[in-house]
Symmetry: C2
Subunit: 423 residues, 2 copies
Amino acid sequence: MNSAFDLDAAVTGAARAARTLACASSAVKDAALAAMAAGLDAARPALRDANERDLAAGRESGLSAAMLDRLALTEVRITAMAEGLRQIVALPDPVGRVVSQGLRPNGLEIGRVRTPIGVIGIIYESRPNVTVDAAGLCLKSGNAVVLRGGSEAIHSNRALARVLAQALDETGLPRAAITFVDDPDRALVMQLLKMDDRIDVIIPRGGEGLIRFVMENATIPVIKHDKGLCHTYVDRHVDLEMAVEVALNAKVQRPGTCNAMETLLVHVQVAEPFFRAFAPRARAAGVIIHGCKRSCALLTPTMGAAVVPAATADWDTEWLDLNLNVRVVDSLEIAIDHIASHGSNHSEAILTADYDRARRFLREVDAAAVYVNASTRFTDGFEFGLGAEIGISTNKLHARGPMGLEDLTTTKYVILGNGQIRK
Amino acid sequence: MNSAFDLDAAVTGAARAARTLACASSAVKDAALAAMAAGLDAARPALRDANERDLAAGRESGLSAAMLDRLALTEVRITAMAEGLRQIVALPDPVGRVVSQGLRPNGLEIGRVRTPIGVIGIIYESRPNVTVDAAGLCLKSGNAVVLRGGSEAIHSNRALARVLAQALDETGLPRAAITFVDDPDRALVMQLLKMDDRIDVIIPRGGEGLIRFVMENATIPVIKHDKGLCHTYVDRHVDLEMAVEVALNAKVQRPGTCNAMETLLVHVQVAEPFFRAFAPRARAAGVIIHGCKRSCALLTPTMGAAVVPAATADWDTEWLDLNLNVRVVDSLEIAIDHIASHGSNHSEAILTADYDRARRFLREVDAAAVYVNASTRFTDGFEFGLGAEIGISTNKLHARGPMGLEDLTTTKYVILGNGQIRK
């Protein structure tokens, strides 16, 4: 640990590097990404050693098994990081893409082109792969990045940062393009959040506490990657077999993700037959239902459901596990109101055979992604065809939903004239 | 003045109104805008009376002539506000516009459509026309707006808000769609800036002090409309006659605006002939040059220039009047470095006949608008063909440069399936 880490100088360096990076060609950026991938492959023993130190310290300080799992850099994960970088090489460079272009009556040609944002600050917890994924996406989009990882992963992150820096050296790009804050002192985070003169955006990735802290203290614009409290609504006219499959998938395919379903709303007219098919399958998958009064009355023991009565707080709880809230509703309106009151504007689905009601749900529900007859689990950069994602933004401004390379750029108006003056 | 103004209830009302407004048809929104315009015309005497009260209070409290001018609601300005609303009627509704659409291999149809942001907070000073312009643009883009004007315009703003509310009533839209904070208590601003659960974005319009205060205290995302410290660089190969006309226009056509030139950079090889043509014209227009050493040496009294030596702080000063910084530079690189160090990333121009140098300037200068051979004064929503603008954003995120109706929307992914589940 370098206890004399000079954050001010480091961020000034990143801002300077951003100017170089903004004009770097795709070929040079891709060469650096390829060198980073090769560097990871070559550094496996050093990475495993560094990670072992973090894991040992984590075990000693009593980190949970889930935390230790997130922290681990296995051979498979190192391969996945290198592979991720190679996939970024294959993605088109968003910089320079023309968004619009036109000729004004006075002869001015006005175009709007994509340019890098500048310096992107990323504050994250535990998973060391974020160091590599975020650095790769920022580099490809021509941005310098300032990475501040969790103290529990400091040795792993430092070893990864060393590999990335060497790749930059090899390709002639400035090292400061990927600036790793090599100091676990928490005071540095507060200092970072106020550097609005040199950092253009802060992306926090982690738990609610971290995100709230960043929102409350940053003078820099923040793009949140916040919680997902996603609903699926089973409408009164619906293919019940399809509804069961989709609802199950939304809950159990990977319950720990932000796009997994936390609450299932079921129209009263189909509740009984739907539950009859759903409950045993859900139970077999380990789902514990937190039911409203009517759900509890319908989900009889003979159905084979695992049910407890829902507490008021449950409707606002992002379980991230196999707990599931279930409510019987009398109408589409009540379902939409429930989602407006308890949802997190992330991913919301209606399962229905009714065209008008599908349209109404799509129009009235305010979320990053609204679905008809599909699992909310599809909210993801790869699934949406954007390629790699830096995360799933719960912001409404700038980037909403899966955030890909293009969302790491801003635009610039380019105006070509031949002496035009304003009258 | 209603001293018991309940901001919490008012903002909750605005959030509820936003849901109605998000689904309102273009026809209904346009009818409300037309009713607002007609209401302004009909309420001229009441508006003039209310404004006279603000002006009298302003004179008494010693407001400057410039402040009083900004505050005044003349007949011409009332006409302009009504006309502005009618122009917004004529603009296309951005809501529902499809940004992208495609079919995924698994049969999911994924589209991205424009939707309103939700609730927009606008904090502004002195000019009462902002009340009407901002309300009109927010309404057309389907957003509810919370308006917090300056205390010096409270009577004018209250009278305008009354007209707008009546137009909403007439067209059956909720009054809370345009929520006017009818209380000059400054503590309410701080309260407003923390309401991130109901307000989606804050747009501050005013002086640097206001903008800094908002950035430092808001937990809500901010879109700044900050200062413009714009440069024009006269390159070594250039049509001198064109350069003189464009530079003069950038400075004197309306010096109090954010897109006016504050600093002129001149390549050493053309400095003498350029100054010879420029200096007398500038002097005739009332321009006072703050020159670097070399400028002062070249701008001899026989040239007829009005020159003072530039102080260090001048290069970072947004004059907003007829003062102009002038520096002689040895190269394009030095010009670009000067702009990177002192510019505000607003509008920057190169005047040149050299294709490669024009391209380099466009690529390397980081600003909302970069120009070749045209006056920076064109950075404006109308001039860029966007129609009315809510302002000129100095943010890099979400909206950069002139901010029109489309920038008052976000997007929503709409996913249509037939039972797709994630494997």
